[in-house]
């Protein structure tokens, strides 16, 4: 009896195995929630490379200045910010060159905003290709992130040039430990922005409202982190208002923004400002939230990619 059962089970297992072996892939109505196609993405790595090249190159085709636009934009923004928020509003802290202070924030924020905005519209923008041919959809946001990363690298070199200028003039004293954090920060920020972008892209695929929201929301979002003011100023302000008895909602928002601790780590590294209030817990918090958001985004992205073409 037992033997019979055993033989039956073995036969069944072999049969099931064969069934699986015979077909290269199966298209089903229901997919599992977690379906990050590492294998397929690896197979399509050449496509990711080409998308990456396309995103990077196509932007600057038929332009005279070409890749120079990568550095013109942060330079101009820095000049304006230094005048408006530095000279007029006096938001920049004492003892740090204004230009270096603002540029370190702008470069980091630009990178985050670039990845987020570009990935938040993936489904809609690529509906044309997605509607005709299959490839792992995740290849697109990944290549977008890589292209933005390269752009960041160029702008980071610009920041280094500005930093070296002030350093050689003796106006700033770097904190090398924090500068060494840069690669980790870049990856964390990229994953965070791509995760948020993927979640948003699932929404923009069906309801265009979110496209409008993203286009101005990203500008407002900049004020919820420490791009144009130092963290020390917010904390000072909050302490003052808490002394009066108010709960400072603003401080919570700024600290809750995972980008804040990353910008702060840059500021400590390149401007030597804010080490006294730098809290490692917030840095860990940024890493953790980036991972959680990314994992959630994979599930949502995977769910959306199945049928979005019907509703885009």
């Amino acid at each position: 009896m037992l033997l019979q059962k055993g033989v039956f089970i073995v036969c069944f297992v072999i049969f099931a195995h064969r069934m699986k072996e015979g077909w290269d892939y199966t298209i089903k109505s229901k997919r599992t929630a977690w379906n990050f196609e590492f294998k397929a993405l690896w197979k399509y790595r050449y496509l990711i490379l080409l998308f990456f090249k396309r995103d990077f190159v196509a932007n600057y085709k038929q332009t005279v200045l070409g890749p120079l636009w990568f550095v013109i934009q942060p330079i101009l923004t820095t000049v304006i910010f230094t005048f408006v928020f530095g000279n007029l509003a006096g938001l920049a802290p004492e003892g740090v060159p204004d230009a270096l202070f603002f540029m370190s924030g702008i470069v980091v924020w630009n990178y985050f905003a670039d990845v987020f905005v570009k990935t938040s519209n993936i489904f809609r923008q690529n509906a044309n290709i997605f509607g005709k041919v299959y490839f792992p959809r995740m290849a697109v946001p990944i290549s977008v992130m890589l292209a933005s990363m390269l752009k960041f690298l160029v702008q980071f070199l610009l920041l280094l040039v500005v930093f070296c200028y002030y350093w050689l003039n003796g106006e700033v004293d770097p904190n090398l430990d924090f500068i060494a954090l840069t690669p980790i920060s870049v990856i964390v920020l990229g994953i965070l922005a791509m995760g948020l972008g993927n979640i948003t892209s699932a929404l923009t695929a069906k309801y265009r409202d979110f496209t409008h929201l993203v286009s101005f929301g990203i500008q407002l979002l900049m004020y919820t982190t420490t791009v144009i003011y130092p963290l020390s100023k917010i904390i000072e302000w909050a302490n003052a208002s808490e002394a009066v008895g108010d709960f400072s909602f603003q401080k919570v928002i700024v600290l809750a923004n995972p980008v804040t601790s990353i910008i702060e780590s840059f500021r400590v590294g390149f401007c030597n400002h804010g080490l006294d209030i730098f809290n490692w817990n917030y840095y860990w918090y940024s890493i953790a939230s980036a991972l959680v958001i990314f994992l959630v985004s994979v599930v949502i992205f995977n769910k959306t990619e199945q049928n979005f073409i019907d509703t885009v």
Partner: protein, 432 residues
Amino acid sequence: MEVLRIKNISKQYKLGEIDRMSYFGDLKKTLKRLVGMSVSQFDNTEVNDRSVIGNSKYVWALNELSFSVNKGEVLGIVGRNGAGKSTLLKLLSRVTGPTTGTIQVKGRMASLLEVGTGFHPELTGKENIFLNGAILGMAKEEIEGKYDEIIAFSGVARYIDTPVKRYSSGMYVRLAFAIAVHLEPEILIIDEVLAVGDADFQKKCIKKMREIAQSGRTILFVSHNMSTVRELCSRAILLDKGGIVLDGDTEKVVQEYLTAGHSNSQFGLIPATYPRTIVNKDGLEIISLKLFNESGEDIDRFFYQEKITIKVKVKILKDIGAEYICLASFGDQIQDRISYHSSNNDLISETHPVLDRGEYEFELVTNQSLLPGSYHVNFSVLDTMGYPYDGVLGYGSFEISELGRNKNLKYTWSKSLGSVAFENEFKINRIK
């Protein structure tokens, strides 16, 4: 050997716009799902009949479809607009997921849905070959190995370093098709691409597709062009309203496609209000007119050189004896001229039947050889002086297909050369 198995595939679509209402609907469903309530997905989904206004917002674009394809088969998928062909191809090419059912695939499957899948207009032809190849799943070395062959096949070598946005649409297709056929997938899906390109390129494509089929690979070919389907496919499937109507021999399916759904709606009773030419009043009245094909079906689509039978019911109001002429002609609908003409032209003969008061059916069998196109019918009954008792002009509309009932018969010339083909004999005599 089976390379593709489709089992109970259905696809549900929602009609109408995506707006505030659907947003709240989605929200409600999501919330229900989150609290663990069951959400029925399929309630009130109707068969997809595009011409009928239904009660439900949901339709089945595909409804419980099952079939399988063997290795090396060239399968034609035919059907009217909205029958579900494109939906089926979308599911097969993994662009969108099925609502129910499974599709199992062996080997690499590449689809060529429309032109220039994923071409980027700003990139050059060369860059697009690599990008497109990669999108279709080719490795870098593979594309490099076939690069020269692709350019040679496409015939756009001169433009290869120009951005594809400057290409003509024909060049676009040539390049796109060249890449796809050189991908050498085990299963190739083609949707109407041949409709673009010029005659020379179409011939090249058909030849290439035949080569692909002979090399043991499988092709799924969707087209409205029955002569191409006939030429290429070993088996065909006829879809209608999301289901399979007929699956089998190409010849049968093509015939069924050309005749099915053409059962006559526009011919039949002629309303009293229909404009008529009547001079000789109160003689007779034409009640109905119908066309029949060789197999006796009441229809408005005929094969090339197929016999058409016109059956006309008339009511004779007074005894008109034997002094009448029946006149039928076919009018060319586009150029508005009469192109074919037949009657009981024996004007003087006393032999044709005397018509007393009563109802009669006239039956006229024409050995027509109209060229492919769309025509209408004129029918009148005249007295011997040529004054009509009753006549209807420009009635209905029927079509002549470019295919003959016989597989070898096919009309290939343009209609601009005339409206009628005569039976000819052609000889060449050497004089010197």
